[in-house]
């Protein structure tokens, strides 16, 4: 009797294939192999995972504490701060109706007199430029550089975010 491939025989017999099962019943060699597999399975089930070192959990938590805050958490925190500030502002306006009315009047007036406001702003900027041009350039440059550094850090962190399956 010619024996089929053992893997095929095993998988077919497991699916209830009559031919494979009857071969297993009649073939001593295949039966012996199957019994060897069974014994191996019993032995394998007696193996167990080793325990990690006693300080393992402490080391994991220390690494988590030391790790930089993920970008997602930073963004979430920033968004929450923004929302809180907005809520505070709206709350303050609602709590003081006179101030709200005054603000609305002033805004409307400013809007109507936008031309005057624009010239006033331009004059103020011109005066500031003639008085303190160098400090103004320094402040604007510092703000620009800080923005660039922040953007670079943000992009860098996003790129190095780990890949998880």
């Amino acid at each position: 009797m010619s024996c089929p491939d053992l893997e095929t025989l095993y998988l077919r017999a497991a699916d209830g294939d009559e031919e494979a099962i009857s071969h297993l019943e009649s073939c001593e060699a295949c039966t012996a192999l199957m019994e060897a597999h069974q014994e191996l399975e019993r032995d394998l089930r007696h193996l167990s995972d080793p325990f990690p070192p006693s300080h393992f959990v402490g080391q994991v938590m220390a690494r988590i504490e030391a790790a930089p805050v993920p970008v997602r958490v930073e963004l979430q925190t920033g968004f929450l701060i923004l929302l809180a500030a907005l809520a505070l502002g709206v709350g303050a306006l609602v709590a003081a109706p006179h101030a709200t009315a005054e603000l609305a009047t002033n805004t409307a007036t400013s809007f109507l007199n936008w031309r005057e406001a624009f010239f006033a702003f331009a004059n103020a900027a011109g005066a500031l430029w003639s008085i303190a041009a160098i400090p103004l350039i320094a402040v604007v440059s510092a703000l620009f550089l800080a923005s660039l550094v922040g953007l670079r850090r943000f992009a860098g962190a996003a790129l190095t975010e780990v890949k998880v399956s």
Partner: protein, 209 residues
């Protein structure tokens, strides 16, 4: 007749093939708390799944130092990526998949096989529920089995460890190693057959001495 034959001759692997998933996934509350930034909840998760994670790392990498390092890295990445974890899946399966990927990355990066520390963990394998005498005999058998397992490829070791040592279902194993559940039984058979041949060679070698 058929069922009797199947029960008596076919390896036990099929018994666990159709294991039913638990309706309520474990660790759900801890994961939600950890997502809110509760580090104590995450620490509790680490305590719960550290052993299978470390065990898989050790079986794949075969050195305690590397296994510990990779297992720690696994938990760090899990913490940083909790927002990506799908609540519909088991947390430990997700963490095991991260550990497995990190181990395979490290194995790929290795330029040579390190064998110096391979023997380190041989005696550390637990033998629950055995008398001292039984334990002594079983210890020898386990050591032979562990030695034979170490000769197999990482792919063979992982599938045997996940199925027989960690008692995971074929569906869980498929999620961890990223393949179709239907292929697991065939993989298990092939790995077991390689192991059987190794064990036979080992026994023949001992008899010849």
């Amino acid at each position: 007749m058929t069922s009797t034959l199947q029960a008596s001759l076919l390896p036990d692997a099929f018994g666990m093939m159709f294991a039913v998933d638990a309706e309520e996934l474990p660790y759900r509350a801890e994961v939600q708390a950890a997502r809110r930034g509760d580090k104590r909840a995450f620490e509790s998760l680490v305590r719960s799944v550290q052993r299978p994670v470390y065990g898989l790392c050790l079986r794949l990498l075969r050195t305690e130092a590397e296994a510990s390092e990779v297992a720690q890295e696994t938990f760090l990445r899990a913490f940083q990526n909790l927002h990506r974890y799908d609540d519909g899946k088991s947390f430990d399966v997700w963490v095991m998949a991260i550990a497995r990927n990190l181990c395979l990355d490290l194995l790929r990066r290795r330029t040579r096989v390190q064998t110096d520390d391979v023997e380190d963990f041989k005696d550390r394998l637990a033998s629950p529920g055995m008398s001292q005498e039984d334990g002594a005999i079983a210890k020898e058998e386990r050591q032979s089995l562990e030695a034979a397992m170490r000769t197999l490829s990482a792919q063979d070791r992982e599938v045997l460890a996940l199925y027989y040592v960690q008692k995971r279902t074929t569906k869980e194993i498929a999620q961890i190693i990223g393949c179709a559940p239907g292929t697991i039984m065939a993989r298990l058979f092939r790995s077991r057959e390689k192991l059987r041949k190794q064990m036979t060679m080992h026994l023949e070698g001992e008899d010849a001495r």
